[in-house]
């Protein structure tokens, strides 16, 4: 194999590959990226056996072929090459080395045979549709903060993507929860997605997917089966296994009868929460919200280090309420609000609280209060 490729193009491809490979890998080949050259394309494939990403980049292929080389090292090298350089990758098929040359730099890297590289079995996809990059980005960006890291409830370690009956008909919905908070994000159902089975997209896949979604208008091809999901742009294909488990019935978790309504500027609110939380160094800092007639007092009382209080003008017309929350959770949900005011709906100080942006029900958050 012998190819020449633009440094920037190569960098993008190997960057994607090196973030998929497992750092602490015990199987050497899984640390490698498979480079295949044919026609006028070089493809870069990396996998951790759960996720596979393939990046196809234009390249001048002088001799077709394939080899595998350490993804992290190759990425480091390419990153340090000068911008605009033309990089040539040569594998003579005999020495077991890949030569990387750019300008006066010359590297020789150990390779492993391409035959050893595990290629993910292709699946029968039961639904295929396309969605705007911006739509997918919103679905996952706004839900991923609530993904659980708890190992015993492994079925919460991802985002549950499925077709749901919303208030305005069927929609594409993403839900994530860790038992403390929950995010439910809706989008219009793309044509072809109706038959999609509900699947749990693992946390790492959500992170890798994000790198494909920078261009708002790009169309992303989505293919879904019971066991796999695939996202494809024109250059990159990301295939991932889904979490084999049943996502709990989240609909029962979302409170319907909460009537006490608080409306507050999300940014002012977040800043105030952040300020009062400063006095406590505990991991789960509790912020107390005292609500009374258009007035909100936020306070933190940390017996060991101090206390803090801040008052905010808000819209609140219900009876007095005192309720506590984990400061981090409040900040996380408040930071999801970017256009309108944050609207909180409370029941009692022991019941789950609902938060949304204005009257928009396409993004709803639930957070469990904390005893203070």
């Amino acid at each position: 194999m012998k190819i020449s490729i633009e440094r920037a193009t190569l960098l993008r491809a190997v960057a994607q590959a090196q973030s998929v490979v497992e750092r602490r890998n015990t199987i050497p080949i899984l640390a490698n990226v498979l480079i295949e050259a044919e026609g006028d394309t070089a493809s870069f494939r990396a996998t951790d056996l759960d996720i596979e990403v393939v990046d196809r980049a234009p390249a001048k292929v002088e001799r077709a072929g394939a080899t595998t080389v350490g993804a992290v090292t190759l990425h480091e090298i390419v990153r340090k090459l000068p911008d605009g350089a033309l990089v040539s990758l040569t594998d003579d098929g005999v020495s077991g080395r890949l030569t990387v040359e750019a300008g006066r730099s010359n590297f020789s890297l150990a390779t492993l045979p391409r035959e050893d590289f595990p290629v993910m079995a292709s699946a029968e996809y039961s639904a295929e549709f396309t969605a705007k990059s911006g739509v997918l980005r919103r679905l996952f960006d706004k839900s991923k903060f609530a993904i659980s890291t708890e190992e015993t409830r492994y079925y919460l370690n991802g985002v549950y993507m499925h077709v749901a009956d919303g208030e305005d008909g069927r929609m594409l919905r993403c839900v994530a929860t860790d038992g403390h908070r929950l995010a439910r994000i809706d989008a219009a159902l793309p044509a072809g997605a109706e038959a999609m089975p509900g699947i749990i997209v693992p946390r790492k896949t959500v992170g890798e997917l994000r790198k494909l979604l920078d261009d708002d208008e790009a169309e992303i091809g989505v293919s879904v089966s019971e066991t796999k999901i695939r996202f494809a742009t024109t250059d990159i294909t990301l295939t991932s296994k889904v979490i084999d488990g049943t996502f709990p019935d989240y609909t029962r978790v979302i409170p319907k009868g909460n009537t006490r309504r608080l409306e507050v500027d999300a940014k002012d609110f977040a800043r105030a929460v952040d300020r009062v939380a400063t006095v406590s160094s505990e991991r789960s800092r509790a912020v107390k919200m005292q609500l009374d007639e258009d007035r909100l007092i936020l306070s933190v009382n940390a017996p060991d280090s101090g206390n803090a209080e801040e008052e905010l003008a808000v819209a609140y017309a219900d009876e007095r309420l005192e309720i506590g929350f984990n400061a981090k959770y409040l900040l996380e949900i408040a930071s999801q609000v970017d256009r309108e005011n944050a609207v909180f709906l409370f029941n009692s100080s022991g019941d789950p609280t609902l938060m949304r942006e204005g009257n928009d029900t396409s993004a709803v958050y639930v957070v469990m209060p904390m005893r203070v």
């Binding site: 190992e151 015993t152 919460l156 908070r181 978790v253 505990e282 789960s284 509790a286 022991g350 209060p369």
Partner: protein, 422 residues
Amino acid sequence: MPSLCRDCLSHSDATPPGAAPRCALCRSPRLVVHPELFELGIAHMDCDAFYASVEKRDSPELRHLPVIVGGGRRGVVTTACYIARIKGVRSAMPMFQALRLCPEAVIVKPRFDAYAEASRAVRDMMNALTPVVEPLSLDEAFMDLSGTARLHGAPPAVMLARLTARMQSEIGITGSIGLSHNKFLAKIASDLDKPRGFSVIGAAQTAEFLRERPVSLIWGVGAVTQGALERAGIRSFADLLRWEKRDLVARFGGMGERLWHLARGHDRRRVTANAPTRGLSNETTFDTDLGDVEILDGHLWRLAEKVCGRAKARGLAGGVVTLKLKRHDHALLARRLTLRQPTQIADNVYRTARALLDQSMDAAPFRLLGVGLGALVPAGRADASGDLLDPGAARRAEAERAADAIRARFGAGAIVKGRALR
């Protein structure tokens, strides 16, 4: 001279007359008379033949028989009751030798669970007297009761006599008290009058008390140090007093300095309450190895309940649950899981431990099962937030608290879960 009756706890600043005075109120001869009796505050409590006493309490038919706790693999005496001690049986003696001295002795295998429970009960009683309790082992502890007289309305000596009386009536075991002005002397005192003893060493008598005693009385002076001291011609405290401090230090290093002070009855070490508890755990060893998850489950629940009972009693909660398993070949397995928030609810601990057990059943059968609670924090921060996905958890926790309240009022057996009977 101040006196205190250990039976009726009456005390006065005057001693009843006579060569062998008796209590003016109850005529008991168990009178403590000492000029500094009501001034001293550092105490050492040592249970009498602790393991054997617990065995006699639990098996009354053993009461008047010589009992030796021990056996097991090493075949040595762990504890001998006082009847067996009369025959010359001592702790750490090989079992065959003990039986030669006392062939009629009943040998009981140790039941550490029962001892730990009795020890905990004693410790709770001590903690009620003073926050400064320094346990040395299951059956002995230092206490500093200085300055508690106003709080209790009685001087330390009275409270200590009451402690041993309560230990006897409520727990069913006896202990001996040493009362003095420092730890060194309190520990010596508790050993002077065993069992059911109460000895006082006052400041004024200290020098004279020590003078003719052997230096082996010093805690920490074992056979090796004793040999070294002997080679230097030091057998008694009087011998020690003849040495200059720097000569002792030159010969015995750091120990020399300590010896110089102890020779004069000086001991500046403070009684320090136990280092904060790092973790709580309970375990049980089965008679036969168990591989049935349903039977293990019953044990698991009881252990979780025990651990959490202790956490609740101490106002603690834990953020990490550990499961300890020993396989038939004694190979040890330990599994741990960090909780979303600290808990003291047995139901949470049980459910977490059960998930860990389910993951470990491949290694069954087991000979030992243990449940632990670690990363302890004050209970105020425990169980602060519910679980969105398990709304029943809050109700189960409430039910558990209600059951705890019932038990607190009507006794430990007043209400149990069906699961506990498995």
